[in-house]
Symmetry: C2
Subunit: 339 residues, 2 copies
């Protein structure tokens, strides 16, 4: 029997290390890959209740670290922490970092970023997006999400459509971690020479990772924090562009049809809140539609106890059904003139 479509496989085995070389792989095979019509990343999309979902893209992300050190500043302790009895006459890089950070967000609502132009280029939702959001809002199990996350209240207790719009169409400035000075048990009378904060921003179409870092740099400079360093981690998966695939793309329609044929009504996200290197396929030069979908259940991605269900039960399908689904999906895609 002949396959109704041609298949090219991209097997990426470096995800847990940040997919540092995927961009090289794609760049070196542009000729071959550009002959494709669409990308399908098989995934176990069923949640614990058996519901299936699909995301037509993802947010971008840019991660960086802000470091305030006496060494760069030229004030405060420059070499090592000193005895804190000198705090009356020696300035503190930790306080400096705190005020630099505090200047970047609204004290009354730190999800509101005050960095000049931070929200420029954030594309508003398209009519297509809004349609998907409306549908999602009717089915989103907020209570289950809060429970899984261990979160009692979402931002301003938003829910439904408002919650989804905030989640999907707001860029973020999140602090992943902060550290400096003595962090062991109890207390220690030192005045530290340095403090750091690990930050990240999730990017919406049409933002770029570059512009975000540049705006942070400009903000720091304008507030007099020219000495505060921005450490970037290039080639370490600390930056991914956003990705979008139109709901009208053939592979999307074929996937929805295949889901329905298997008895599912999929939750269709305009894009996921997380980030991945999809953009390598969806942007220049390949510009392919990209969909991640599949039945079956797995979870705890990236964790040491990540799992995938092989046998299935009354709620989630096993590996055999997942395989059948992909066959069906490929057949749909070839039959329905959706390319």
């Amino acid at each position: 029997m002949e396959l109704p479509v041609n298949l090219m496989f991209v097997a990426e085995g470096e995800e847990e290390l940040g997919s540092a070389h995927l961009i090289d792989f794609v760049r070196d095979r542009v000729g071959k890959l550009s002959r494709a019509d669409a990308c399908l990343a098989p995934g176990a999309s069923q949640n614990i209740n058996g519901e299936v979902s699909m995301s037509l893209g993802c947010k971008g992300v840019v991660e960086f670290e802000l470091v305030c050190s006496g060494e760069k500043w030229g004030r405060g302790p420059t070499e090592r922490a000193i005895h804190s009895s000198y705090a009356a006459i020696v300035e503190s890089p930790v306080w400096r970092l705190i005020h630099a950070l505090a200047s970047m967000t609204d004290p009354a609502d730190p999800t509101r970023v005050l960095v000049e132009g931070f929200y420029d280029n954030v594309a508003p939702p398209t009519p297509e997006d809004l349609e998907l959001v409306d549908k999602l809002a009717q089915r989103l199990d907020e209570e289950a999400l809060r429970k899984v996350l261990g979160v009692k209240h979402f931002y301003r207790d938003l829910h439904g459509r408002d919650l989804l719009l905030k989640a999907l169409y707001t860029t973020t400035l999140n602090i992943q971690g902060i550290y400096g000075g003595y962090t062991g048990p109890l207390v220690k009378t030192v005045l530290p020479e340095k403090a750091s904060a690990k930050l990240e921003s999730r990017l919406i179409a049409n933002q770029t990772t570059k512009e975000t870092v540049e705006k942070i740099r400009r903000h720091l400079d304008r507030h007099g924090y020219t000495d505060i360093q921005i450490l970037e981690y290039e080639g370490q998966n600390a930056a991914d562009d956003w990705s979008r695939t139109s709901p009208k793309a053939g592979i999307v329609q074929a996937t929805i049809q295949a889901y329905r044929d298997f008895g599912f009504d999929p939750l269709v996200w305009p894009y996921s809140l997380g980030s991945s290197p999809q953009y390598m396929f969806t942007k220049e030069p390949l510009k392919l539609p990209f969909i991640s979908a599949g039945i079956g259940h797995g979870a705890r991605a990236h964790a040491p106890d990540e799992y995938y269900v092989i046998e299935g039960n009354e709620r989630v399908r096993g590996l055999a059904d997942a395989e059948k689904f992909y066959v069906w999906l490929l057949s749909k895609y070839s039959n329905t003139n959706l390319k």
Copy 2:
């Protein structure tokens, strides 16, 4: 031969553990200790150039930790760090702590504390103090101090008398350390559930440790941070009262005379910038004058390689000379009717 004074020894072997039980020792022996006229803490006061010094007291200190957690707040992640893709709709205890801290000091000069009433009760220098400060200003080797500390600039490049007045008569709000979320190498896309800052304030006469913590609490509450916890570490040397001994006290005058008899012109500090449990002897109920003095050289206090010079050389005296000095000092004290 009979001693010209009576001696009582208090041997404190718990300093490195925070002298947690010294207060009990003193309390249980008030009757006996109150028969004393003065306290002498023998110390190796010679610096590396051979200069001797003495401090007529010390600053107080109060140390505490501010903790902002989603658990107490009721917002943000409450149990563990969550994936930072949710930062658009889940609030951040780290940002909250940063803004709470930032509200406490002046962004343009974080040595200026904005907590209401923070400088209340700070006694201005007495005329006696100012005399000592003027003398110190003439001899203080600022360049050497900067070098030892690894500090290129003191606060606002003050020097001489202004530097000393700032050092001695300003209470501080120092951050010993700050931590929260992911603090390992590179970056990690998490939204942390908690962040902490270890703080400390050095106290001037007539401040109390209690009032300082109360003011911080009131400040947090007034700014809406009622959920932010203040952890105190009682019985862990996280709080010491300040101590003062008058330059006119007999033991002070005897010490200065003894120093001079040995060929030294001492640097007399109205009090040291650091803190110690002297107040247990100088305040109610004992109210004894307390002086720490002695020739000889040692350094790296509290460090594993703390040392004391036994033999001496052309710059610093050895143990035998130090012993002779104490004998001479006791004899001075008994002879000169200084009690």
